[in-house]
Symmetry: C2
């Protein structure tokens, strides 16, 4: 007889689910991974995975280090009248990352991406699937923005994050969020609505 | 009697000069560090430092991993008629980093900056002193651009580099340099000449 089997929770279960999820996402990508499969491999009930994490996308966000709920925030920023899209997107980016915890996460994410091919792969998957797809369809499904335009919007945001949270270039660190919105929203707006 | 004293060169001397330089730049910053001081601490003749590296700025570039001669390239991109500045700046950035060696350097630089406070400090020093100062004076010494505007230009470039060389988001990787110039030069141009 053995004590192995489905676990009912406890301190290390959450960590173990995360470890298993990291391996699954890296090996099979986002689409090829299921909560059921992760639960089976971790030896827990799928309900426990949902208890700890907000479904597959929440689990994935946790694995790559982006804040939970980020996909909803992106969707909310993209929705609304086209003329304010640039401002809403820059404000959302700052709201997500501009706290001490957000800064630390951004730093960790950049470090992981730069040093681990697996992390770069996972982040690429997230950015392509979630961020770029949302932005591309900002004006509806019939009027899709070119992929490179969308990637250029993403580049402006992550570049600002890199200088503000990682390299810490003084003018970018000292600016308050609304000053950054004033400088960065117009170029993003013009890319979205030329 | 001892064999210690000034060395005349050899395999490890270059590496040792770099190690000493790394420590000096980190401890005293760019302005507080001299070739003479590095040479003294490394136990070599200052001429040997000049022989291996292109003066203080070349040595500093080598320490932080940016290609030698980058300051001259930035100066050349910034010089010339204002109306083409955005295009020249994006083309220069791509020429510096878009080779296999450049990509590897960019990756290493991002990794170092994300994981070592010292590297972030050195890169911040380089970006502030060299890149941002050149850009701020793009239209002469009397017409200086706001620091935050200049930092936003830098953010667009490093963000593009991060997505093209590190995260490797497909539309940014697959675009040829002139496609990137077409998308990224206009926003940069409008920041420089509103």
């Amino acid at each position: 007889m053995t004590t192995r089997g489905r676990r009912s929770g406890g301190g290390d279960t959450r960590t173990e689910i995360l470890d298993v999820a990291r391996g699954c996402f890296a090996a099979k990508g986002y689409d090829g991974t299921s909560v059921r499969g992760i639960a089976r491999e971790a030896g827990v009930d799928p309900a426990l995975v949902h208890h700890y994490f907000d479904g597959k996308s929440g689990l994935f966000a946790e694995v790559i280090g982006v804040p939970a709920g980020i996909e909803g925030q992106i969707a909310a920023a993209v929705a609304g009248p086209p003329e304010g899209a640039g401002e809403r997107i820059v404000r959302t980016f700052l709201r997500v990352w501009d706290s001490p915890e957000g800064r630390a996460r951004f730093q960790a994410m950049v470090g992981a991406v730069a040093s681990h091919e697996e992390a770069a792969h996972l982040l690429r998957d997230f950015v392509s699937r979630s961020v770029l797809t949302s932005l591309a369809h900002i004006f509806g499904d019939d009027d899709v923005l070119p992929e490179l335009t969308v990637a250029a919007v993403g580049a402006q945001l992550v570049g600002m994050g890199l200088l503000r949270y990682v390299v810490e270039v003084p003018p970018m660190v000292e600016a308050d969020p609304e000053e950054i919105v004033a400088v960065l929203a117009p170029p993003i707006q013009r890319l979205l609505v030329p």
